[in-house]
Symmetry: C2
Subunit: 523 residues, 2 copies
């Protein structure tokens, strides 16, 4: 083979904004995704894995950051001049897949997908350019029962992965309601409309005063930069603020109710609430929305849809302790046309500055009735949800709900490098019993290094067989976790003596001994 | 939100050379990868998932197709001028990860990785530009015990996913042996050496005559194109041919022995062989190799390594019926420095023209001691294997070894669209029992369409509750698989009558009835 030409050494660095996942991180995510897939499948959704690469035209331009080249995607030009790009979400590819294969797919088509997506954005702390999404969508039905189902499934999914009821809330709004409000304001400029929606979306971050300023002339943000406002008059802004804060108050009551009143958690509230009270909360929000949209036909349609969704969910026992109507939900993506959803984790974590704050959003979605139409020209209604996998994993970490660190392998140490075959045979024996085992393959000269390696790998046991042991037909089994376990249990000296860290076992009994030991310590 | 500007409709097409995976395809691959990961983990390997994107310089240029721009990768230039690319395999990224994190990783570092890789090659039938690999590598040890372990693990893996012993063979060679042979020929030109290796690699495809022509002046290939030869003299080519064919003969004997002699399968041979016979086969190959490399130091070193590997494997019971020394193995990638491996499936399939042929290679790998050095300047020996996931899946399909098609959900049909909430409650009841269930969400007007949908989804049961049933507190349960099952069992008319396809069940018993039914039919 031709030798590579002498070149300066490449940097051993993950590209900026990308990261690697090691051992337990991969296993934890796989375990979580498997649980999510199980719920999705139980609801009748089928798996789909589309290609990571799409033509740029198929992806379309729907990312919030519309001003950047290629709308924030990683793109390149093929030899035949065609532009290709990495998918930035799993929804745009679904629209392409459905349009392409619609004659072979069932209608409605319920599909789930999980995998990495890529965004060509400025990386920041905790902000990566490759991240996992886990989506479920129903394509080919305009029924709001599909939206309600997605929201119920989202609640079930969060509980399945380990977020207990009371620690999350699914919020629902409807773009049609928002459009109805805008219609009432007689806004005609599309850009201004979009700006108003973006501003409403910031309510959670900047609060009532912030939104009021951003709807008007503008606002000095925390970093000292001046953010231009949308330019509405006070009179125009007032109904938006009223709509946001009044509806929001009820939504908050549903999510955190008693927490706000007596300082306790939403769970307590949830336990004491009656179905009638729950019902009343969503009813109140709907009434207020109906008042705000006034005579706007699209607004009324939106409220009616939310009404049906609330009914369907209530009938299945998903009350406002889990799923609530919330007028401040917008969702950034441009393709939503009807109901929009967001799942928020309501428990507190401590931020980098030591202040308590709510964990926040881990999933979002909504109805997008025009996305497939781009390809086919025919209306194909669709709705779905996308879970931010990395954020949800971080939440499980924060709650201590991820599975315990996977155990390392049993380590067969190498005392005599000419007897590698014997050591390999030991490892094979253990593996035949489904025990994780390996022979030390580093330089065996320094035995201390072998034990250091075992420690780094979190090995439960080390097996030692030198020539003396070999002659006597025994092996030494060293319990590497004992010290840690004893410290944890604050055991007495007597117990320590009864459990020697190293034990001689007949070679023939090695498999039985190790299997019994691992069974015992696993319990 | 701003409306997208009117543009010509995008084509709903998977980009050329890419494909989508649906339902059972995704589930089958996941199941296979889970089995592979289990074997890898049992051998002590830990998961790693590196980013799909790397800097172009970190990836290096190791693809066989060195003449194409960017060496066959998908690459693009960032705003800061840096070139980024999609990984073309999982080995180059591992070298980068190890170099970057070596102080935090155990040494030796055993890792496995599974995921898509991308190659910017001309797509063809069955030749995709995105495909899955599943790798295991040991970094940081020069011990051939690591190579032997990888080969043993590869054999275990193939059996774990469902390729029975006798239907596969792991072939091992050593680049050092090949270099020794080249040294004996006094070739000095690196390009010519690489060309000779590439030609040896074609032995399986073009046979002895083909290799002889390609080593000499050239050859008219099947398509009528003239392929230029390496330009060796007859005298130079002769030892290569001798080496290839003599060693190859023994290797074939080990893999297919009796098959070639009496027309039966390798399995039969494997059953009748004695350990001594197995042993003798690898011994004979090693002796011939030793003769061919003559006085070449590197060649002798290579044969010695193969000798040790054969010993280690024999001691663990991996004889030449599973793992065999085979001088014709080269492996295309440029970074291999020592032992190289290949797993071949030896059973016959029927090709597109109806002719029987061996399935061929599903995995390859080897030792690459210089790959990490590119980054660190320090030698870091490493060895590993890569399984071609899609090819292995295709093999399992060919053998009928993939799991049965996943069952569709129980379908709750919609007789009365005002009672969606009741139907949803039925679905929720079934899901609570871990039963896959969904409410029909298409237009419910035409009941025939609902049953067509159920058929397309392979639903086992349809639940029907119209107003009459509702008034009487019952539901109809329609057994959708019965017709198919009866046809399969050639049941008599009497039995048909005893097993009506539709049954009335009290609404309160729905869950129990469906659960019992699915338990029964799953058996």
């Amino acid at each position: 083979m031709a030798k590579p030409k002498k070149a300066p050494r490449p940097k051993a660095e993950t590209p900026k904004g990308f990261r690697d996942y090691f051992g337990a991180e991969v296993a934890e995510r796989d375990a979580m995704l498997a649980k999510i897939a199980e719920v999705y499948r139980r609801y009748g959704f089928d798996a789909l894995e589309s290609s990571a690469v799409e033509t740029l035209e198929a992806l379309g331009k729907y990312l919030p950051d519309v001003d950047r080249p290629h709308a924030g995607v990683f793109a390149w030009q093929e030899d035949d001049e065609a532009w290709m790009a990495l998918r930035y979400d799993l929804t745009a590819p679904l629209a392409r897949v459905y349009a392409q294969h619609r004659n072979d797919l069932p209608t409605p088509y319920r599909r789930y997908a999980m995998g990495p997506v890529w965004r060509n954005e400025k990386p920041g702390p905790g902000r990566f350019r490759q991240f996992y999404q886990c989506d479920a969508d129903t394509v080919g039905t305009a029924s709001v029962a599909a939206d309600a189902e997605i929201c119920a499934m989202l609640a079930d999914t969060l509980e399945a992965v380990g977020i207990p009821r009371g620690d999350y809330i699914v919020r629902i709004n409807n773009r049609k309601v928002l459009n109805g409000v805008l219609e009432q304001l007689h806004l005609t400029d599309e850009t201004q409309k979009a700006d108003v929606l973006r501003t409403i979306d910031k309510y959670d971050k900047v609060g009532e005063t912030g939104v009021r300023e951003l709807l008007g002339k503008g606002r000095l943000d925390a970093s000292g930069a001046y953010i231009d406002g949308v330019g509405l008059t006070e009179a125009q802004a007032a109904p938006i603020i009223a709509f946001l804060t009044s509806g929001k108050r009820h939504a908050d009551m549903a999510a955190h109710g008693v927490q706000r009143m007596d300082g306790k958690r939403g769970e307590v509230y949830a336990r004491h609430r009656t179905p009638e009270l729950s019902e009343a909360i969503n009813r109140n929000v709907l009434e207020e929305l109906r008042r705000v949209v006034g005579g706007s036909a699209v607004g009324v349609e939106g409220v009616d849809e939310l009404d049906q969704i609330a009914d369907l969910l209530a009938a299945q026992g998903y009350g406002p302790d889990r799923i609530v109507i919330d007028p401040s939900v917008v969702r950034g993506l441009g393709y939503y046309t009807g109901p929009v959803f967001e799942a928020e984790l309501t428990f507190e974590i401590t931020d980098e500055k030591g202040r308590p704050r709510q964990f926040g959003s881990v999933a979002g979605g909504g109805r997008y009735d025009d996305l497939v139409k781009r390809f086919t020209g025919q209306e194909v209604p669709a709705t779905g949800i996308s879970i931010g996998v990395d954020r949800l994993l971080a939440a499980l970490h924060a709650k201590g709900r991820t599975e315990a660190q996977a155990q390392g392998p049993v380590l067969i140490t190498v005392m005599d490098r000419d007897r590698m075959a014997d050591y390999q045979a030991m490892a094979a024996e253990l593996r035949d019993r489904d025990i994780r085992a390996e022979v030390y393959l580093g330089n065996p000269k320094n035995f201390g290094n072998q034990l250091k390696y075992a420690d780094r790998r979190a090995c439960p046991l080390a097996i030692i067989e030198g020539s003396d042991e070999n002659n006597r037909g025994v092996v030494l089994v060293k319990d590497l976790g004992l010290g840690k376990r004893l410290a944890a249990e604050i055991a007495s000296n007597e117990e320590w003596k009864e459990q020697p860290a190293q034990q001689e076992v007949p070679r023939a009994d090695l498999g039985d001994f190790v299997a019994a030991f691992l069974d015992r310590t696993a319990g």
